[in-house]
Symmetry: C4
Subunit: 310 residues, 4 copies
Amino acid sequence: MAKNEKEKFNDFGLGDKSSSDGYRALNKDGTFNITRTNIPFFERLNFFHSLVTMKWSRFFGLIIIGYFIVNLFFATIYSMIGVEHLTGTKGMTPFEQYMEAFFFSAQTITTLGYGRVAPLGLAANIVAAIESMLGLLSFALATGLLYGRFSKPNTKIRYSDKAVIAPYQNINGFMFRLVNPQKNQLLEVEINVSLSVKRNDSDLRNFYNLELERKKVMFFPSMWTIVHPIDKESPMYNLSKKDLLIKDAEFIVMLKAFDESSSLPVYSRTSYKADELFWGEKFIYAAKRENGKLNVDVGLINHTENVDLN
Amino acid sequence: MAKNEKEKFNDFGLGDKSSSDGYRALNKDGTFNITRTNIPFFERLNFFHSLVTMKWSRFFGLIIIGYFIVNLFFATIYSMIGVEHLTGTKGMTPFEQYMEAFFFSAQTITTLGYGRVAPLGLAANIVAAIESMLGLLSFALATGLLYGRFSKPNTKIRYSDKAVIAPYQNINGFMFRLVNPQKNQLLEVEINVSLSVKRNDSDLRNFYNLELERKKVMFFPSMWTIVHPIDKESPMYNLSKKDLLIKDAEFIVMLKAFDESSSLPVYSRTSYKADELFWGEKFIYAAKRENGKLNVDVGLINHTENVDLN
Amino acid sequence: MAKNEKEKFNDFGLGDKSSSDGYRALNKDGTFNITRTNIPFFERLNFFHSLVTMKWSRFFGLIIIGYFIVNLFFATIYSMIGVEHLTGTKGMTPFEQYMEAFFFSAQTITTLGYGRVAPLGLAANIVAAIESMLGLLSFALATGLLYGRFSKPNTKIRYSDKAVIAPYQNINGFMFRLVNPQKNQLLEVEINVSLSVKRNDSDLRNFYNLELERKKVMFFPSMWTIVHPIDKESPMYNLSKKDLLIKDAEFIVMLKAFDESSSLPVYSRTSYKADELFWGEKFIYAAKRENGKLNVDVGLINHTENVDLN
Amino acid sequence: MAKNEKEKFNDFGLGDKSSSDGYRALNKDGTFNITRTNIPFFERLNFFHSLVTMKWSRFFGLIIIGYFIVNLFFATIYSMIGVEHLTGTKGMTPFEQYMEAFFFSAQTITTLGYGRVAPLGLAANIVAAIESMLGLLSFALATGLLYGRFSKPNTKIRYSDKAVIAPYQNINGFMFRLVNPQKNQLLEVEINVSLSVKRNDSDLRNFYNLELERKKVMFFPSMWTIVHPIDKESPMYNLSKKDLLIKDAEFIVMLKAFDESSSLPVYSRTSYKADELFWGEKFIYAAKRENGKLNVDVGLINHTENVDLN
């Protein structure tokens, strides 16, 4: 049964075949070290996904540039129609007239419509009617994008930078810890840790599911130390620090939880390589009672002290 | 197996180590008595989450203040450019001119644009084009925030203020009751009760999962009495009222359900301390038939009567 | 085990205690015959839920009336300030002036702002600035409400009006059928049927879970006949038509599915009373092959023919 | 137990009764070959669903046509009221006057409101107030629709065009492969394959669940080859290529996953008919190491090479 489960977990989509020395399947930030090529543009394309996941600075940059370009475009059209079809323009030079057209376009696309300058005649009116409609649709789109950006579950689990091997009961354990730095509550938090090591005789890799002291917690308001006890059943049993480095070990961590703030499930991933694992250190306790509350000092998440191993 | 499950439930993220006398892990409203410090500002920050969960009065207050400040800001800019670049202004005194600029700003940012006052010249036009764009984006944001605020599942389960020990079949039971006061239907309602008590010999705490008469109901249109039968398997077996007070007992309640109105899962939490537990009282029946309907009197949720215990 | 499950299902929040003769727990449309009284107004209140679930006619009615009243309100304020503070008004009589104020208000709250009439002076400008802001917020709210109304999973499962007792293999079965009349696909459809009957010796009711031939289907593109085989294990075994009427039987149906269109889970409920159950009828087949497609005639959902029972 | 599961899977809503020769239950794109007729218009109707799932070209076409028609409608009303009730109109001929009314309508419904033309008098003002309100509501609707269109999980799993029978360990296996061409991560991907074959003696069909080498992967960043080992337990055991063609075999594939980008579950379906199954071919390996990353060449998804079967 245990073997079966390991078998099933084997590979799990990360490719056991070409993962040779020095390869990290999962980056620390949870992204995969996998690229895909030769995807037709249309299949790859996900307009909304890109606009919702890009950085804020880039998102606002795109909006501002788009606003500028669209106004340039319409200003050119109004100029071609002739500014005499815009009432109230006071520009004398061609540049001033183009500027009048430009700002008239801006007043139209935002549906501001001061009316000091207004379209006169069929052509100018048609363009203005189209532009104002376009403005409304663009704005509808921006509303959706802003909501899409904000309403995404915004969970940034913070993992300790390093994992440790520390005493656990009368054996040792593989440990790391994590905290939710934000105000949103995470509930029914489930964690899954697996170990990927190179096979002795080939470039292929084996994947093992690591049994945890506690796989799921109902609440997660505090700091949580994940422990894999290195007992006789553990794939890490009798492996030394050097063995793990030679086998190019990677510990792959996947967390699943329910985010009460967005009412959506959230996932988080990270990994530890053999050289991020410290032997004979233990995490220091980060919580203390204060005014009837338990206070957790998140700044201590990476603090360890030396300890003798069993 | 049972022991295993209790073991797993142990701590569940609430910290078994420093929970000494008089400590309440979970407040009555379901928040945790845990604070986290030393979190970098950027990690802690969740702009949308704050704006969506703050009180309505504060939310509208922020909007109004923001509207006022932004208009002050732009009015100052227009004044610096000079009100002579705004056509149609009729203000004579500097204050009147500033007011004209202020209201022109308000008409621009809301894209109202009466046009009695309108920008003339490059500088004023540029500022107005930027302001109207900013107005649209702010408004897009407000739309998203309002929707985010409203669309959150808004479930306020009402729990009885007190729990009781009352006869149940030929033994006694730990009981409390709950009702959904709102119109939205809750389906597949699951409840979980655990008991946290101080250990005899230390400051540490033990957590026990309490077996319930009924752990899940498919519908929840009425009032529901939760019963933990105190049989020989119960961690409360042979514990007296005084024992629970000495052991600083806390009953931690967690409810999970599907909210048909929002099509989302919802969670609710509360807790009872030993001094909110009343021995030898039972809840009076709150439902009666009326015109072919079952009528539940929610006002009776806390009403109990004295009863002899088994 | 089986008994245990029935036990658990017992009551399921529908109240087994006061359900006497002629009582229907669940209406045909899936609503509950349960009312709750004495709920404080603030707890009961769910503004968004009400506005999102009310009928379209009522929703639009509210918007139109609200628009009218708000404009009356602001028109009165502008009139009190004096129409001389609105430029360009051409009204002579008090009524005409009030009308000018009214339409000026409408042009302001929609951020239309023609500017033929525009505010002049501090008081009128302040009111207009507030009104346009209010307009934007109301409109943001309306956007959210419209989206909330539309994005709700809109699944209307259609159940056969009657249930039947028909031959099934070499015994008989309790049967009804259902279809999804809409274009959205329902996946992983799960159905649950239970029988509620009066106890012989009291007003109380028993609830039994009915075993089904097939409890779950992965796809539901066609019409589905639900069958409970009346074998020796069935709570309906040896019960006659008359028995079910005397016991005031109610068959409670609950369906759960994943709605691919909204990517949300959906639930549907209905019930059959003993007098909606027809003995010795069977549903006629409603599907036939046409041009390489299977064609399901939804209009036949209630069509049955007489049949001899086993 | 295994038999039981097959039994349960039997039919799964696809209609086992009239599926005779040459019938394909599930199209390659995952739609069903099933139509439903005689559905009352009101039950079938799902306005939002239609507007959200139609093609972009059609969606924008509808908006543009709608905008044009609504303006024609209001222009006609304003013309009937008389353009003399619109100030500032400069049209001389009836056509020019109608055009003025048309563009005035466009400026009103978009809440642009230049004000060069503005309503005067009760009738024109009432119509304009109604039109601007209608404009806001339509725009709110468009915002919701655009968001609804964009926020839908947009997952297009790409399946290999053909399935193959290739050696697997010391037997053979039924195989096909799939890839997620988009940037969004799919997690907890579960796959289900079943085989539908005609019965020997009738028009009816049998459905069998196919056991897979791996039914679920936690991550899916790469290409995944699904393998059903044809061992003694397999319903394909001892069936030849010809047998499958005669039995009109259809392999029905259903995939379920969690889409991290939208935080929603997604489903995907496809099918392979017997003539899309190639014997003695195997998929060539599509991944290689490059700069410390694994590179998957999606263009190779259909590439196979000949191989001897066991």
